[in-house]
């Protein structure tokens, strides 16, 4: 049984995560990577700053992994979510799920990312090519123009 989760500040070492779940008991391994994308809702993104309620995010991510292990019979699962300033293409989250059979591996992988999106107390502020930045998902509450544009 190898279940591990972490909230990290540095770059995620994807090869290390893949190596971590290796077991000849498994016939299928699914890696999910989330990246900073250059476009969101039609706006050109330049980077994302991720912040979190760190202590709770760690607990919730561990709880998600534990529920996943129980629900799908997954014995090899590792997930890391990164915080801080990320550039285009950077990996914000990596999830590796391995199982004897592929159906369970896919379902487990999907379960983890959907639960992360639903309940992990993490927020992102997107920076845009026009110099603005905005909290994603916040319904515009915290929209803020950069200083140089508040003329």
């Amino acid at each position: 049984m190898s279940i591990r989760t972490a909230i990290v500040r540095g770059a995620i070492d994807v090869a290390a995560l893949l190596a971590e779940v290796e077991s000849t008991a498994n016939g299928a391994t699914i890696l999910f990577l989330g990246h900073v994308r250059e476009m969101n809702d039609g706006r050109a993104v330049t980077g994302i700053e991720y912040s979190a309620y760190g202590e709770m995010a760690e607990r919730e991510l561990a709880a998600i992994a534990s529920e996943c292990a129980e629900h799908f019979g997954i014995a090899h699962l590792v997930a890391e979510h990164r915080l801080g300033a990320l550039e285009l293409g950077d990996v914000s989250i990596a999830i590796v799920a391995a199982h004897p059979h592929r159906a369970e591996a896919y379902e487990a992988s999907r379960f983890v990312i959907e639960e992360v999106k639903r309940r992990l107390p993490i927020w992102k502020r997107e920076g845009y090519a026009d110099g603005a930045s905005e909290w994603v998902n916040a319904g515009g509450v915290a929209h803020e123009q950069p200083a140089q544009e508040q003329q």
Partner: protein, 80 residues
């Protein structure tokens, strides 16, 4: 009694702080803490029923709050 309210992301910006110590009467619920925060300068940005966690666990509006509790007001999450 005293509870610590934690604010994050857009909510922290709206209230100008990420941590507020509140002195409250006894028999207090999550709803009371939220109402107190909404009455503060900038607090109108908080929804009436935000997501809340008490001592690191998601909690409903009616949950009792005890002295020393950490009550976190959670903006819409955007992890992943």
């Amino acid at each position: 009694m005293t509870v610590t309210a934690l604010l994050f992301a857009s909510y922290a910006e709206a209230l100008g702080s990420d941590r507020v110590e509140l002195t409250l009467a006894g028999n207090t619920t999550v709803r009371d803490v939220v109402e107190r925060l909404r009455a503060m300068p900038g607090g109108s940005s908080l929804p009436a029923s935000p997501l809340v966690a008490v001592n690191l666990t998601y909690a409903g509006a009616d949950q009792r709050v005890e002295s020393g509790d950490e009550v976190a007001i959670i903006p819409p999450v955007a992890g992943g």
